[in-house]
C-alpha cells in the first residue's frame, strides 16, 4: 500500500491550526492508518480532515452508519494489524460504551477521542464541558481499565494523540483523548517535531511459533503479545470470558478472576510509567489548584495572579485522568492547606481528589455553559479559602 502513495507528513516547524486538526495530524504522525467515524459536533472536523488526509497515506477513512459501528470497525481494523482511531462527542461516546468494553476485554489497541460538550443527552453541541470524565473510566459495564488523557492546548491535542496511540499499543487498551469543545475548536500555534523525533510505540509481536501461540498469555508486564489476522496464527478472540487460548470459559470462577483482575492490573501496576502531570509553583505552595483540560489554562492564570497578590498558590495539572494520579495528588495535599478544584461539570474528578486528599479541605468550583471559569473566579475561591 505504501508504495503507491507519496508520504506527506507535515513538515516540521511551527504551524497554526485548530485542536481538531492537530488531533488528526497527531494520529497520522503516530502511524494511525484507519479512521472510522460518524459526524458529531464538535469532533466532526477530525473526521473531515482525516477523510482527506488518510488516503494520502494509503490509510482507510470510512464514515460508518453510527458510532457503535465506528468503534467496532476500529477494533476490527486493530485486529487486522492497523493503528485505528475514532472521534466523537458525548452522545456518541455513550453509544460506544459497550464496545469500549469489548476493546478492553479483547485487549484491542485503539484510540477514542471524545471532544466533550455540554451534556447530558443532546445538551449544548457547540459549547464545552467536562462532563464525561467519570464516564471515561466507568462507562462500560464490568471491571476493566482504560487510559484517558486530557489535552489543555492545541499542541497537546497533537502530542497527546500520539501518546494515546503509544499507550494503546503498549498496554493493549482503549486509550481515550478527552478533549473539550474549546481545545478542539480554538486555533493556536503548534510545533511539529521532525518525524525522527516523534516517539512511536508498536504492539508487541508474538515470540512463540504459530502452533504454540496463546493469544492471551501475558508477559511479565501483564500484556500479551498480539498477533494479527492473516499472519497464520489462526487464533480466536471473544468478548466472553476466555482462557489464554482465547476460548470461551463461561463457567469457571478461576478463569474469570484471573482474567478480569489482569485487565485491571495491567494499567494499575504500570501506573508509574503511564501517569503524567504538570506541576507549576507547587514547591512552596499553601494552596493548590488541581485542574485539567481547558480549565487548567484559566487556573494557571489564577495561580499567577494569586502569587502577584502574595498568596503561595500552585497548580497541579492532570494530563492523565485515568489511571488517576492519586500519588501526585496525595503528595500535594500533604503539603498544602487547601485544594481548589475547578471543573466544567457538577463534580467529577473532584471526588477522586477528595479521596486522595483525605483530611485536607477541597473547595469545588463548578461551571457549566459557554465559558470555562475566568481566572478571577478561580482567584476568588483561592483567596476565599486561604
Amino acid at each position: 500500500m505504501s508504495s503507491m502513495t507519496k508520504k506527506r507528513v507535515l513538515p516540521s516547524g511551527a504551524r497554526f491550526m485548530s485542536g481538531d486538526i492537530a488531533c488528526a495530524e497527531g494520529a497520522i504522525a503516530a502511524g494511525c492508518r484507519f479512521f472510522a467515524g460518524y459526524p458529531i459536533t464538535p469532533a466532526t472536523e477530525i473526521a473531515e480532515h482525516l477523510s482527506a488526509r488518510m488516503p494520502e497515506f494509503g490509510g482507510i477513512y470510512i464514515q460508518m452508519e453510527d458510532e457503535i459501528a465506528s468503534l467496532v470497525a476500529v477494533i476490527g481494523a486493530s485486529y487486522a494489524g492497523l493503528k485505528a482511531m475514532t472521534a466523537t462527542s458525548g452522545p456518541g461516546f455513550s453509544l460506544m460504551q459497550e464496545n469500549i468494553g469489548l476493546a478492553a476485554m479483547t485487549e484491542a489497541p485503539c484510540v477514542i477521542v471524545d471532544i466533550m460538550r455540554g451534556g447530558p443527552s443532546t445538551g449544548q453541541p457547540t459549547l464545552p464541558g467536562q462532563q464525561d470524565v467519570m464516564q471515561a473510566k466507568w462507562g462500560s459495564h464490568g471491571d476493566y481499565s482504560i487510559i484517558a488523557l486530557s489535552p489543555s492546548s492545541v499542541q497537546e491535542m497533537f502530542n497527546l494523540t500520539i501518546e494515546a496511540f503509544n499507550m494503546a499499543e503498549t498496554y493493549r487498551v482503549p486509550a481515550l483523548v478527552m478533549g473539550d469543545e474549546i481545545v478542539a475548536h480554538m486555533w493556536e500555534k503548534v510545533v511539529i517535531p521532525p518525524a525522527s523525533e516523534i516517539r512511536i510505540v508498536n504492539r508487541k509481536k508474538p515470540h512463540d511459533s504459530r502452533d504454540k501461540y496463546e493469544p492471551f498469555m501475558p508477559d511479565d508486564d501483564l500484556v500479551p503479545p498480539m498477533a494479527c489476522f492473516g499472519e497464520g496464527y489462526r487464533f480466536h478472540a471473544t468478548g466472553l470470558t476466555h482462557d489464554e487460548y482465547g476460548y470461551p470459559r463461561t463457567q469457571s470462577s478461576e478463569v474469570q478472576s484471573k482474567l478480569v483482575r489482569r485487565l485491571c492490573e495491567k494499567v494499575s501496576r504500570n501506573e508509574d510509567k503511564i501517569i503524567r502531570v504538570e506541576k507549576v509553583m507547587l514547591e512552596d505552595a499553601d494552596v493548590a489548584v488541581v485542574a485539567y483540560g481547558i480549565v487548567a489554562r484559566a487556573a494557571l492564570s489564577a495561580v499567577r495572579k494569586a502569587r502577584e497578590a502574595g498568596i503561595k498558590a500552585g497548580l497541579l495539572r492532570l494530563i492523565t485522568l485515568w489511571p488517576f494520579p492519586e500519588k501526585h495528588v496525595a503528595a500535594v495535599t500533604n503539603q498544602v492547606k487547601t485544594i481548589v478544584v475547578p471543573e466544567m461539570n457538577c463534580g467529577q474528578m473532584v471526588r477522586e481528589v477528595e479521596r486522595a486528599a483525605k483530611e485536607t479541605p477541597v473547595a469545588f468550583l463548578s461551571k457549566l455553559g459557554e465559558d470555562p471559569h475566568t481566572p478571577n473566579e478561580i482567584l476568588k475561591v483561592i483567596k476565599g479559602n486561604i
Binding site: 502513495t5 507535515l10 494509503g58 482507510i60 467496532v72 476490527g76 487486522a80 492473516g230 480466536h236 468478548g239
Partner: protein, 279 residues
C-alpha cells in the same frame, strides 16, 4: 466397518472445542459442515480466512473454525468484519451469525454494509427465534408462532431476509435449508469467489426450542418440513420468496456484478496519489 479414522474435515475445526455445544438435531452443525465442505472444495488458504460471528448459538461457530476468528458483541459482527476487510482486503472475511444478531440489533449494520457493498460474506442461520437465550421471538419469527415471549402467538410480521438483502444492494443473495446441503455448499463456494457483499440465508432447525414450541419436536420433523415444503425457484422475485408451513422458497435470487467498496476505495487512492504533490 473398520477402526475409526479421523474425520476428513478435522483440519478445518479446532479440535480442542469439538464436540460443539449445539443440541441434537440443531442445524448449526450442518451450516458449519457445509461451510467447511466449501472451504475444502476450494482448498482455501486458512491463513487468509477470518471468521467473525455475533452472539447466539450460531455465534459459537467462529470458535469452532480453525482460522483467525472473532466473536463480537451482539449485532456487531458486520462492522467488525468491515474494519478487518478494509484494513486487509487480501483476507477473506466471512460473517456467520443468526437471524436476531444480524437483523434485529444488527439490522442497521446489515443494510449499510450491503448498501456500500463491502466485500464481506454473510451466512445467516435463520432458526426463527433467539435460541441461545431460551427461545424468544425474533425478527424472522413467523406470524402466530409460539415463542417464550409470544405465548399468545406472534403478531409481528417477519422479515423476508432475501428480499431485504437484495433491496439493500447485495451482489449475491441465496436461501437454502439445512436439507439442501449440496446446493448450500455450492452457494458458499460461489460467494467466496465473488466480489462485493454476499448473503446466504440458511433455514435451520432449532428443534429443542422453536420446534418444540411449534409442534416440531425433533430435528427430523423440522427437516421433514423443509423436505415437504421447499421449492427451488432460482432468480425468482425475492420479495415473493416466502417461508410458510406449506412453502419455503429457496434458491439463488441475486447474482450481479458490482464494484466492491474496498476496490473502489483503492481505485480512488490510486487517483489521489497520481495527482499528489509533496507538501
Amino acid at each position: 466397518m473398520v477402526q475409526e479414522m479421523v474425520h476428513p474435515f478435522s483440519k478445518y475445526l479446532r479440535s480442542a472445542m469439538i464436540p460443539h455445544i449445539w443440541c441434537s438435531g440443531c442445524g448449526n452443525g450442518v451450516v458449519l459442515n457445509s461451510f467447511v465442505h466449501a472451504l475444502d472444495e476450494l482448498q482455501m488458504d486458512l491463513d487468509k480466512l477470518v471468521v467473525v460471528s455475533g452472539i447466539g448459538c450460531i455465534g459459537r461457530s467462529a470458535g469452532y473454525t480453525n482460522a483467525d476468528s472473532f466473536h463480537t458483541t451482539h449485532g456487531r459482527a458486520i462492522p467488525f468484519a468491515t474494519g478487518v476487510k478494509l484494513a486487509n482486503p487480501e483476507l477473506e472475511v466471512v460473517v456467520i451469525s443468526g437471524d436476531g444478531d444480524l437483523f434485529a440489533i444488527g439490522g442497521n449494520h446489515f443494510i449499510h454494509a450491503a448498501r456500500r457493498n463491502i466485500g464481506i460474506k454473510v451466512i445467516c442461520a435463520n432458526n426463527f427465534n433467539y435460541g441461545m437465550t431460551g427461545g424468544q421471538q425474533g425478527p424472522t419469527t413467523p406470524l402466530e408462532s409460539l415463542t417464550t415471549t409470544t405465548p399468545y402467538g406472534n403478531i409481528e410480521h417477519p422479515f423476508n431476509l432475501v428480499h431485504l438483502a437484495a433491496a439493500s444492494g447485495a451482489t449475491y443473495v441465496a436461501r437454502w435449508t439445512t436439507l439442501h446441503v449440496r446446493r448450500l455448499t455450492q452457494s458458499i463456494k460461489r460467494m467466496l469467489q465473488k466480489e462485493g457483499f454476499c448473503f446466504i440465508e440458511v433455514v435451520t432447525p432449532c428443534p429443542e426450542i422453536f420446534g418444540r414450541h411449534n409442534k416440531m419436536r425433533t430435528g427430523l420433523e423440522m427437516m421433514e418440513w423443509f423436505k415437504r415444503s421447499s421449492v427451488v425457484e432460482n432468480f425468482s422475485d425475492p420479495s415473493k420468496a416466502e417461508i410458510t408451513p406449506e412453502r419455503i422458497v429457496v434458491g439463488e435470487f441475486v447474482n450481479v456484478q458490482k464494484v466492491s467498496y474496498e476496490k473502489f476505495f483503492h481505485e480512488k487512492l490510486a487517483q489521489i496519489n497520481e495527482k499528489a504533490v509533496e507538501w
